[in-house]
Every structure is written in structure tokens, then in C-alpha cells.
């Protein structure tokens, strides 16, 4: 298939891995910003074939994961109200709020529907004039244009029964927040290709210059990721810190002006809370005053809802790339895709879910972790005080893994 098969060529992939091993002389730490990239890295085991010591730090770019708990509680409060059709992208449905999730609410009778485009939600509002249709407008710069278009379309149609629950966040402020943190270990970024396809690459030039970090705009296929890592390493090895567009087949330098215009017409930049990270200044979007009539929060009186995270969940540290799921005592045990404690276990793009889907398991305490897989950086240098946290390789006997056993019976 064009644009897919070429980027999944195993011969080329292995050639890039070899080149990476020839090029890297130091244990570089590179963050892939986007959850889609994390998914490909883990799914293909790319992080396991990197040169010894080198590691990928998984970034905060999972829209489901960074949506604050209280925003999910607001969604649940709205979806539970009579006469509401609550619409959302699919993978928000399983994200746990403080007490329940949208799927469970649906099983108890709420009208919760998956849509593939926010414009479908507008069509629902048009077709159901006696119902209130609410769309959960979450995500990064990628989903913002379509979400903005839904508001513009509703305005054009004069709909009074459509509203959006907004939780939009922006990538560059999060990258700055990560780089500003005193415990930051990120030395280079793979920027999220699809975000750049909307916004262009210019926002990253000042970040690369000020923080002296290479920023490689990277796609989502296995060869995209390998190429992105190689380009980042080449910059690091030669002391350069530039913005490099390695995803030119989708990303124009100035992005997509029409999509940007739609965002600017409907939204304005605002402070936003990120789940697990906290409030980052000017890191999100809210409706402009002229479109405030489409804001679901005042319409359904849910503005006052607050929430507190589960104490065992280390999602915040995972989203900032400080710790991995292997460092979490709940991972794979108290916290699984069936019983998620935090959002990174829910979305396909969440780091914990990506690890879990790829079968990475923490061994039970006191059991043999098996031989560490070669070249796996997290195993080569386990965090202090957690010697049993190594990821069991796929070849370790299933007998060491009670969680997996239990789930199959």
C-alpha cells in the first residue's frame, strides 16, 4: 500500500538500525512527543534495538492521557443528564473518571456515542432538535481544526442544541515545560508530525535555539521513527541543535493555513491543566467569547467539579518521561487496560497501554526476571532500588507471569 509499505520495509529498517549503531557514541536520551509514535516504537520493539544505553523517553502527546480528571468527571456529569447525547472519539470512553467511565455510564442507560468526526456530532444535533448534543473536544493542534469546524458549522446552521466540552492542549508549551523542569533528561525531540502538518515547524525554531536541543519533525511509521532517531543522533553527535523536517511528505513549513485559520477563529490560547503535569501557562485553547454560547461547561453547570487522582498512579511522572511503566507498582497488576487507574493505560497511544499491548510485564516480586534482552536500555540501567523492574523478554517462560495467566482463564 502506498505510503505505508515503503515505510515498513524490514531490510531498510535493519539498515537504519545498523547505521544508528555506527553513529551513536553516547547514551543519548530522546523524547518522542506523540503517543502515536510511542505506539509504533513499542509495537515494533524499536526501543529494544537501540545502541546500548541510548533510550527513548515517552512524551506527553497522548490526548486522552493529558485530559484532566476533572474534565472527564464533567463529561460524565453531562452524559448522565437526561436528554443528552454525549459524543466522543472512541478511546475517551474507557478513561476512568473519579467514579466511573463513559462505557459503564452507557451500560447504565446514558446515551453515549462514538463519532469519527465532530461534524458527525453536529449532524446528530441537526437530526435530534429535541436533544442536547455535546461533543468532547479534546486533543492537540491535530484535532482542533475539525473541532473548530464543528462549532462554525453549528453556528452556520443556527443550532442551539450543540455544544462542546473543550480540553484542548498545545504541544510547544509542554515541550518547554519539560525542558524547564530541573530533573529533565531529554536531549532531543522527535516532534509530532501530524501536529506540524497543521501548525508548521516555525514554533520549534526558538525552542531548538534557546534550549540547544535538536527537534526532528517525525512521522509515525517504523521507518519514520528510525529515521527520526538517526537524524536526532547525528545532530547530537555533531553538536547541532536545529529543526529538521523529516516528515516533509506531510508537513509543509507553514503547515496548513486554512486549518490554522479555523482554530484561530473559534479558539484563543489559554492556561490549561494537563493530567499528571498540572497547569501550564498558555498551553491550551478555549472558545473565544463570541463562541462562548457553544461551551458545554456553563450550559450544564459543571464548571465547579473538581477531582483528585488515584494515589497509586504515577501517570504524571510517566507523562513527563521521568519514569516508565516498569517503575509503577500498580502496572499490570492493579492497573491494566481492563482496570485502568490512570489515562496512560487507557488510550492506544498511552505509554502504559502501549507497553501492555506489546506484552511487556513486570515480573511478580521475588521471581526471576529472566535474562535481560540485549540492547534494551531500560534493562541495562535499571533505576536505583528497583532491581526487579526489568521488562521480561518475550522469551521468558509464562510461568513467571501470574497476571497474564490469570487473564487467560
Amino acid at each position: 500500500m502506498r505510503y505505508l509499505n515503503e515505510y515498513r520495509d524490514p531490510v531498510l529498517a535493519k539498515a537504519i538500525v545498523r547505521e544508528l549503531h555506527r553513529t551513536a557514541t553516547r547514551p543519548w536520551a530522546i523524547m518522542e512527543v506523540c503517543g502515536g509514535q510511542t505506539h509504533t516504537l513499542v509495537r515494533q520493539g524499536i526501543d529494544e534495538v537501540l545502541p546500548a544505553g541510548m533510550r527513548m523517553i515517552h512524551g506527553p502527546g497522548c490526548p486522552v492521557c493529558v485530559t484532566p480528571l476533572e474534565q472527564i468527571d464533567r463529561a460524565l456529569a453531562i452524559a448522565g443528564q437526561p436528554g443528552v447525547i454525549f459524543t466522543s472519539f472512541g478511546d475517551m470512553l474507557r478513561v476512568p473518571g473519579s467514579h466511573t467511565d463513559l462505557l459503564s455510564l452507557r451500560a447504565r442507560g446514558a446515551d453515549v456515542r462514538v463519532v469519527y468526526s465532530p461534524l458527525q456530532a453536529v449532524q446528530l444535533a441537526e437530526a435530534n432538535p429535541d436533544r442536547q448534543v455535546v461533543f468532547f473536544a479534546i486533543g492537540f493542534e491535530t484535532t482542533a481544526p475539525a473541532n473548530a469546524m464543528s462549532v462554525l458549522r453549528a453556528a452556520q446552521l443556527g443550532l442551539t442544541n450543540y455544544s462542546v466540552l473543550v480540553s484542548h492542549v498545545l504541544v510547544p508549551p509542554a515541550m518547554r515545560a519539560i525542558l524547564d523542569a530541573p530533573d529533565n533528561e531529554v536531549q532531543a525531540f522527535l516532534a509530532a508530525g501530524h501536529v506540524c502538518s497543521v501548525m508548521g515547524v516555525s514554533e520549534y525554531v526558538p525552542i531548538a535555539a534557546r534550549y540547544r536541543v535538536p527537534v526532528v519533525v517525525t512521522g509515525f511509521e517504523p521507518l519514520d521513527l528510525l529515521d527520526g532517531v538517526l537524524r536526532a543522533v547525528r545532530q547530537l553527535e555533531t553538536g547541532r541543535a536545529e529543526v529538521d523536517n523529516a516528515y516533509a511528505r506531510a508537513v509543509a513549513t507553514d503547515g496548513n493555513p486554512a486549518a490554522r485559520a479555523a482554530i484561530e477563529r473559534v479558539f484563543e490560547v489559554s492556561d490549561r491543566a494537563w493530567r499528571g503535569i498540572g497547569v501550564i501557562e498558555r498551553s491550551g485553547l478555549r472558545l473565544r467569547p463570541e463562541y462562548a454560547g457553544y461551551d458545554a461547561e456553563p450550559r450544564f453547570s459543571v464548571t465547579d467539579i473538581t477531582a483528585r487522582e488515584h494515589p497509586d498512579c504515577i501517570a504524571g511522572e510517566i507523562l513527563r518521561g521521568i519514569r516508565t511503566p516498569m517503575d509503577c507498582p500498580a502496572y499490570g497488576d492493579g492497573c491494566t487496560p481492563r482496570t485502568p487507574l490512570g489515562a496512560p493505560m487507557v488510550s492506544n497511544e498511552g505509554t502504559c497501554a502501549a507497553y501492555h499491548a506489546a506484552g511487556r510485564r513486570r515480573p511478580a516480586p521475588g521471581t526471576d526476571a529472566g535474562p535481560p534482552p540485549t540492547g534494551s536500555p531500560s534493562d541495562a540501567a535499571p533505576p536505583a532500588g528497583s532491581p526487579s523492574d526489568a521488562a521480561p523478554p518475550a522469551t521468558s517462560p509464562a510461568g513467571v507471569d501470574p497476571h497474564l495467566e490469570g487473564s487467560r482463564r
Binding site: 500500500m1 515498513r8 524490514p10 535493519k14 502515536g36 509495537r43 515494533q44 520493539g45 524499536i46 534495538v49 490526548p63 468527571d73 456529569a77 437526561p82 472519539f89 472512541g90 478511546d91 470512553l93 474507557r94 476512568p96 473519579s98 467514579h99 466511573t100 462505557l103 459503564s104 455510564l105 452507557r106 451500560a107 447504565r108 446514558a110 462514538v114 479534546i138 486533543g139 491535530t142 484535532t143 517504523p222 528510525l226 488515584h310 492493579g334 492497573c335 487496560p337 481492563r338 485502568p340 487507574l341 488510550s347 497511544e349 499491548a357 506489546a358 506484552g359 511487556r360 534482552p373 523478554p393 518475550a394 521468558s396 517462560p397 509464562a398 497474564l404 495467566e405 487467560r408 482463564r409
Partner: protein, 351 residues
């Protein structure tokens, strides 16, 4: 309705345990849990079949061996490219009987119809039942029709049972052995994506057609060519990943797949990519996977390929003694990852 959040007492983590979720019917881990925790215990002692199989094998003493299976079809939409709920039910039940080595003899057919269903639609569904049964050479021998009030069902539900006589070959999930070669009779995920493309009105440019078809003739040819075939399974709900995980778990073998070798037609792959779905988790209704001892694998593969419904058959991996209970796939950079069962509903991701 109104849901009072304060009334929900589930503590965190609040895995829903008091109500049945849609995901409980997806053929993945939630389905397995429902069987294990609720249905299995109540039937223990009374049941004769293995919960790991889609059909029961009943010894009739001197009268031979009967294969017996039942299935309820609730697909939405009821009509989709490549078939409708009628031929889906007939083919699905024939396949469940065939996968246990049974030669399907007869079917039962029950309808639960919602008041208000257009008679035209009932006619189309029943025509498809008749056509599929005639093509397969397996008659509908008995049946029942019930009508329920509007809202008590969604259009029409179709329940079919099938009986067949087993020959000498007795494929069963427990018989998978290290060294077995895994054959797949056709490309993955066509049925699930065909249904989804219509249900969600996705407007794909190229039409994806369901692969619903009867496989009993292909199975008969495979068992004639490779009588020691250990396992046959049609990976329906939950997809290939769930079927292989179930087999690996009950047979205590590992399964190693070659991702590049698993056939997926381009339009189907494109649709899966677009929605963030894994073809290995998507339902199929017209393919089967076979675990065949290595010395008979070529013969089994040739037998599959000789039939039109198995023309695209191919080797996708092998059973191994390492990592019993686990299914792994070799990635293109040469690492291995575990292929797990689907957890609940497959949910399209955001971007």
C-alpha cells in the same frame, strides 16, 4: 434517564462488575471473564463441552460421534456488503461444526423479531438463509419464530444450531503441539471492517465486503490431505489474536507469528490504519487457522489453495515450546512482541 454519579458505589478502580458491558460480548478478555466467572460455574457438572471450543463433541456410543454447536447473531447493521444476518448465521454455525471435524448435517433456525420489522427485510434475510444452506448442502431442518414488542429487540436476532457427524480426525484446541505449522486460509479482518464501514457510515472509497462463507468443504479437504491436523479454528469475534491466545493457553504451547506473512487486503488494511484498529483483533467470518504437524503442512496448504475459498492460504507462523500460553510476533526490526487478546470493545483512537 438520569444517572446520579453519587449513587455509584464502585470504588476506584471501578471496573464495572455489576452490569454487563458491550465489551463482554466482544470475544476478548471480558468475554472470557464472563464465561469463567458467571456462566461456567453455574454449568459446571452439567456441561459436556469444553468452554474453549465453539462446538461440543458428543460420543453416541455405537452410533458414532456428534458435533453440536449453537450461535446467536445480533449484527448491526443486519445487511452489509457481502451478506446479511441470515447467511452469516448459516455459515457461522456450519463453520463451528466443521472446525471440530464435524461434517455438518442439519441446522436449526430461530428468529426473535421486533414488532415493526419490514416483511421485505425478513424476506431478504430468509432468502439469504435459504441460499447459504442450499450452497452448503446443509438443510434447515427445524426452527422457531418469536415476535417481541417494539424496543424489546433490535430488528431481528437469528439463532442457529448445527449438528454434524465427526469423522476420524478430531481437531481440538488442546491438541496444538510445538512444531505445528500455522496455516491461515485467507486474508484477515474483512468481515469486521465491512460491518464497521456500513455501521459507522465511514464512506470508504473502495467497498470492503464481508468474507462470510462456509468452510466445511475446505475443512474436509484439509482433513483428507492432513488427517493429523491438530487444531482448526475460525477466528470470529476477537479476531485471530484472541483465537490464537485461547489455543495457546489451553494447549500450553507458544505461538510465533511472522507479521509480514499475515495476509490483509489493502482496502481492509487501509481502513484499519485509518481507525487505529489492529487487523488481528477484527472479526472474520470466512477464514480458518490450522495447526498442522510439519510433515503434513504442505499437503494441508495445497488442499486449502485448491479451493476458491482458500486460494490465498498461507503459512503465518508456528507453535513452539517456549513461552507457553503466549502469542508473539516478529517485528520488522527483528524484535518480538506479545500479541494479546482484545480487552473489551475495540475503540477507534483519536488521531
Amino acid at each position: 434517564m438520569s444517572v446520579q454519579l453519587g449513587d455509584l458505589t464502585c470504588p476506584v478502580p471501578h471496573a464495572e462488575t455489576e452490569r454487563v458491558l458491550l465489551g463482554h460480548g466482544s470475544g476478548g478478555q471480558l468475554s472470557a471473564a464472563l464465561l469463567r466467572d458467571v456462566i461456567g460455574p453455574a454449568l459446571a457438572g452439567g456441561g459436556t463441552g469444553s468452554m474453549a471450543e465453539d462446538a461440543a463433541v458428543l460420543d453416541l456410543g455405537t452410533g458414532g460421534t456428534l458435533v453440536f454447536s449453537t450461535d446467536a447473531f445480533v449484527v448491526n447493521p443486519r445487511e452489509f456488503p457481502g451478506g446479511n444476518i441470515g447467511d452469516l448465521a448459516v455459515n457461522g454455525t456450519i463453520n463451528d461444526v466443521a472446525m471440530m471435524g464435524g461434517r455438518p448435517m442439519a441446522l436449526s433456525l430461530a428468529y426473535v423479531i421486533e414488532e415493526g420489522l419490514p416483511v421485505d427485510e425478513l424476506t431478504r434475510v430468509t432468502a439469504a438463509v435459504g441460499r447459504a444452506a442450499a450452497e452448503a448442502g446443509v438443510p434447515v431442518a427445524t426452527g422457531d419464530t418469536k415476535v417481541v414488542g417494539r424496543g424489546a429487540a433490535d430488528g431481528i436476532y437469528v439463532i442457529t444450531s448445527g449438528v454434524g457427524l465427526a469423522g476420524t480426525a478430531r481437531p481440538a484446541a488442546t491438541r496444538a503441539r510445538p512444531g505445528d505449522v500455522l496455516l491461515l486460509s485467507g486474508p484477515l479482518a474483512a468481515h469486521g471492517m465491512a460491518v464497521m464501514s456500513v455501521r459507522e457510515n465511514l464512506g470508504f472509497e473502495s467497498e470492503i465486503r464481508s468474507d462470510t462463507r462456509a468452510l466445511h468443504r475446505l475443512v474436509a479437504d484439509v482433513l483428507a490431505a492432513a488427517p493429523d491436523t491438530h487444531v482448526l479454528r475460525d477466528p470470529t469475534r476477537g479476531g485471530l489474536a484472541s483465537a490464537l491466545n485461547e489455543i495457546a493457553a489451553v494447549a500450553r504451547v507458544g505461538v510465533e507469528l511472522d507479521e509480514q506473512a499475515i495476509p490483509v487486503d489493502d482496502p481492509v488494511r487501509g481502513a484499519c490504519e485509518l481507525l487505529g484498529l489492529d487487523p488481528m483483533h477484527v472479526a472474520n467470518e470466512g477464514i480458518c487457522v490450522a495447526f498442522v504437524p510439519a510433515d503434513q503442512a504442505d499437503a494441508a496448504l495445497a488442499a486449502m489453495r485448491a479451493r476458491p475459498e482458500g486460494a490465498a492460504a498461507t503459512v503465518i507462523g508456528e507453535a513452539v515450546s517456549e513461552h507457553p500460553g503466549r502469542v508473539t510476533v516478529r517485528t520488522l526490526v527483528g524484535s518480538r512482541r506479545i500479541v494479546d487478546m482484545l480487552v473489551g470493545e475495540q475503540l477507534p483512537r483519536i488521531c
